[in-house]
Symmetry: C2
């Protein structure tokens, strides 16, 4: 095992000592992510059947954070802990990361920003995503506060994720259309779009609640 073992990642000069090619195909990998995500969505909808008073919007947000909890805690948590060994890792999660790394080799080279962002995402946003699901289900008053915190964290982390590699001229992605636009852009851009929408909604909801309290307090003091 040495750094001269050929590998398919970009930049082509990246040193990946101990690299072992995947035994799983691209389709296997996509299925191993897609099926657990679909199961989580199904299980969420099954749980939500008992809460008929929740709006469709609230149910969608529950499903979103259930999926976030799964991806942040399991997938991103794994690379946060095992980043040093991913290049030679033949476990299921190791192979999933080697597949994704075609779109970003920083996951195989222990990039300080990527790994620390993933650790915070897994630990903070992963656990808080479960708290938000619980809060939506039980209509807890801190629900929108937690939703705002996690969505700001996800959006900030994702913008930094894009910005840091684009700043260097995007050297970490395989320039093939599929890796650039499906893996790198689309998979990550979801965490720009949905958190942005949720930030606006929570901002409006919380501002309205404070305005109502201020209005009530003004009436009382008159």
């Amino acid at each position: 095992m040495n750094s001269t073992i050929p590998h398919p990642y970009y930049p082509r000069t990246a040193k990946l000592p101990g690299y072992v090619p995947n035994t799983l195909s691209m389709y296997d990998c996509l299925a191993w992510v897609g099926v657990p995500v679909a199961l989580t969505m199904g299980l969420s909808l099954f749980l939500l059947r008992q809460r008929k008073d929740l709006t469709t919007r609230e149910k969608c947000t529950f499903v979103w954070f259930a999926v976030c909890a799964l991806i942040h805690s399991v997938l991103e948590g794994y690379v946060g802990v095992n980043h040093k060994a991913v290049a030679s890792d033949q476990s299921l999660l190791g192979q999933l990361w080697k597949e994704y790394a075609h779109a970003d080799s920083r996951y195989l080279t222990s990039d300080p920003f990527v790994i620390n962002m993933e650790r915070i995402t897994a630990f903070c946003w992963g656990s808080l995503s479960i708290v938000i699901c619980y809060a939506i289900y039980h209509n807890k008053p801190y629900r929108h506060v937690a939703q705002l915190v996690v969505s700001v964290g996800q959006l900030y982390g994702d913008i930094l994720y894009f910005a840091t590699t684009l700043f260097e001229g995007n050297p970490h992605v395989n320039p093939h259309f599929f890796y650039v636009w499906v893996y790198f852009f689309s998979f990550n851009f979801v965490w720009v779009v949905i958190p942005s929408i949720l930030i606006v909604r929570s901002w409006q909801h919380l501002t309205k609640a404070v305005a109502r309290c201020q209005h009530t307090d003004k009436k009382k003091t008159k």
Copy 2:
């Protein structure tokens, strides 16, 4: 001008083409940061004299965000834009950054994470800090929402700032006690402590407001 010009920064192998030593002393630099910060605090307190109904806590928060607006927009904004030329920059702000860079040479080497984090800090948290001052002064209902967003952003950015260099074994700081514990640790740790306190306060304030609204709505439907 070439990369072999000797420089005082760490790691000692860092390449800083065109590096020009500061003409300002350390004390000059500290004064050029300290005096504008003190003036901003004084001006804030002067403005707040007209708002006798605000609590001491609210006034302190106003002063904090006024200082944040200054530092984020001017100091951090400058390096976000001019990062490529800082090593040879003899302007006042350039020299301030060369002085601070004893604690973190990433500011002189256009580190992708540091520069992009500073750009977001300057643009988003800098401008929103001004909005929060306005919101505190005029008791706007979105004040705590904006405070929560900015404080989460500041805390997340600062934790990543510490984590990314510690992850590499802290190679970017001059190991002298003063640079490690005053510049690197103390100057930055302020943005861990105060945002953490403000997150807790805003979380409590907003949750209470939502709980009050839920309570009122329940009463109405009964």
